[in-house]
């Protein structure tokens, strides 16, 4: 079976995480830009004298589909590559996938990875 590993990380860590995941033998991933809100908090700036807060902080979300058997390793790889030990490093989580298809070939599940 296949599972979906999702991570929200700091943007400047994308390259490193990508390399780490690739090194695991995972063949692909999908990323998008998100804004995060958490312990890290935002900060206030002034624009022409009036304050405004930037409270959503830019993050990158990474989605990796992988085999059951690889999930642990992928999660660990992401965690160690994305870690800066500073607040705001983000989260990784795993959700079950009941079916997967590769559009080009119609291959399914593990085959489709």
């Amino acid at each position: 079976m296949v599972q979906l590993v999702t991570a929200v990380i700091k943007p400047h860590k994308v390259e490193e995480v990508k390399d780490a995941v690739k090194a695991m033998g995972v063949q692909g991933m999908t990323v998008d830009e998100v804004k995060g809100f958490g312990r890290q908090g935002g900060h206030a700036e002034t624009y022409r004298g009036a304050e405004y807060t930037i409270d959503f902080i830019p993050k990158v979300r990474i989605s990796v589909l992988c085999d059951d058997s690889d999930v642990d390793a992928v999660v660990d790889a992401i965690v160690s590559a994305a870690r800066t030990d500073k607040i705001g490093d983000g989260k990784v989580w795993v959700t079950p996938v009941s079916r997967l298809v590769r559009i080009r070939t119609g291959e399914r599940d593990g085959e489709a990875l």
Partner: protein, 486 residues
């Protein structure tokens, strides 16, 4: 034959003067591009097409009205008083519509540039164009302070109103030779109200409409928190705003230096240098001041500071020494920061681009500064024998000859000049303020509100008002495109 040579020279020199006016007019017209980029950069992406469209249409509407009506009301009886021009000069085309003698309030004549002299005379056409460009500048100022919420329909009416009546009114009183310009003759106040290139006539008059318009239309949704605290709503493109600022700076050389209307003395060069010096000091002063006030050198304020220096020097640029231009600019840079903060946070009038601080406050400061720093060296006889600047002959010295425009730093005679300037400021605040306030209030009735619905405002005005997205290919620029009240 010698005579012929001389008169060929006279004609050619007059046309060279006129050339300077046309080059200057083109530069001032180009300022519309500067305003467009500055204002559009300072609004949110969801209102960018609306703001840009206003900045183009305001030329169209304002110019149409000024062409048909406004120019005739402003200069009808005075014509193009361009120094050394035989045609046009002192040949009244029309006559007073309201008032007479030193107390003329409106003129008439030359509607749609028709009438004997108009069609034939390059001089009148050139003067018209230059004045048109100034009108356009005044007309576009409120599009900034009222941006992100103004109904396009209502804005269109403003363009026609400003070009036909609002701007020509104060214009007739000052550059048109009307009652304010004659305060020197009528009540012996210096050379009368003197405003070389329009700190007052253009900037404060446009600025007071920006103020009353913003007050009548109210702050943008979300501008003031529940506790009433002002929130910053950053503009969507600092880069665009910066480019606009530098275009305005460029255009200002036409605005100020070509206001000599002739090149026979080298004064236009001093004017240009003073303009640059005031801009530099305004920029630096605002940068350091805002840095001290908020901890960071806010780019929007660096831009506003440069423009504040330009607005402030505009009235006096031909009458002051370079060091004084520097001082005027420096003070302008501080004023703009303080006024923007004050209006935003204390008065709670929401002005997305800082138009009130830049044009209104520094327009007034510029008018007054002339009464302080004018050195008396210029403006004695700018238009020919016995005529002081603005067509006055007043302020004769003990020997009975006309004196240049003089501020209080250059002799006690300057107090009269300062008084004339103060009267001009008062008239702008009270009379033009009331007229523009009335116009916006009346517009509210005509258009059932001059402000878009709150749903439209939240969604962004671009689609509901203009039918387009400013940036359809960029993610996240329009929060909620549609009127969701279906």
């Amino acid at each position: 034959m010698n005579t012929t040579a001389t008169s060929a020279f006279d004609l050619f020199s007059q046309n060279t003067n006129l050339l300077w006016i046309i080059v200057g007019a083109s530069l001032v017209m180009f300022m519309q591009a500067g305003f467009a980029m500055l204002e559009t950069g300072f609004v949110r992406a969801k209102n960018a097409a609306h703001t840009m469209a206003m900045n183009i249409a305001v030329f169209g509407t304002g110019a149409t009205a000024f062409f048909l009506v406004g120019y005739a009301l402003m200069f009808g009886g005075y014509s193009a008083k361009i120094p050394g021009f035989d045609w046009g000069y002192d040949h009244a085309l029309g006559s007073a519509l309201v008032g007479s003698g030193h107390w003329v309030f409106l003129w008439k004549g030359g509607f749609a540039l028709t009438g004997g002299k108009f069609a034939a005379s390059g001089a009148v056409a050139g003067y018209f164009l230059y004045m048109l460009a100034f009108m356009d500048t005044a007309a576009t100022i409120p599009t900034g302070s009222m941006a992100e919420r103004w109904k396009f329909k209502s804005f269109v009416l403003w363009g026609f109103f400003c070009g036909a009546i609002y701007y020509p009114l104060f214009g007739a009183w000052t550059w048109g030779g009307g009652w304010l310009s004659q305060l020197g003759n009528s009540v012996k106040l210096g050379n009368g109200y003197v405003d070389f290139a329009g700190s007052g006539v253009v900037h404060a008059v446009g600025g007071v409409a920006a103020l009353t318009g913003a007050a009548v239309i109210g702050p943008r949704i979300g501008k003031y928190g529940k506790n009433g605290k002002a929130r910053g709503i950053p503009g969507h493109s600092i880069a665009m705003a910066g480019a606009g600022t530098l275009i305005l700076f460029f255009g200002w050389f036409g605005f100020n230096a070509a206001s000599t209307l002739q090149i026979a003395d080298g004064q236009f060069a001093l004017v240009a240098a003073n303009t640059a010096i005031a801009a530099a000091l305004g920029c630096v002063a605002a940068m350091f001041w805002v840095w001290k006030r908020t901890g960071k050198p806010d780019p929007a304020m660096i831009m506003n500071g440069l423009l504040a220096g330009l607005v402030a020097i505009t009235a006096s640029c031909a009458f002051v020494d370079p060091w004084a231009a520097g001082v005027i600019g420096l003070i302008a840079g501080i004023i703009v920061v303080e006024v923007v903060f004050f209006v935003d946070q204390k008065v709670k009038i929401d002005d997305p681009v800082g138009a009130i601080g830049v044009h209104f406050a520094n327009g007034l400061w510029g008018v007054l500064a002339l009464g302080i720093f004018a050195s008396g060296k210029y403006g004695v006889d700018a238009l020919g024998a016995g005529i002081g600047w603005n067509g006055t002959t007043t302020h004769l010295d003990s020997a009975g000859s006309a004196t240049g425009v003089t501020g209080v730093l250059y002799g006690s005679a300057g107090w009269g000049q300062l008084a004339a300037q103060a009267i001009g400021c008062l008239v702008i605040i009270v009379v033009m303020g009331a007229i523009s306030w009335g116009f916006f209030k009346l517009s509210k009735v005509i258009f059932k509100g001059i402000r878009v619905d709150s749903e439209v405002e939240v969604a962004g005005l671009d689609v509901p008002e203009m039918g387009v997205l400013a940036y359809p290919d960029f993610a996240g620029t329009h929060e909620g495109l549609v009127d969701e009240s279906v």
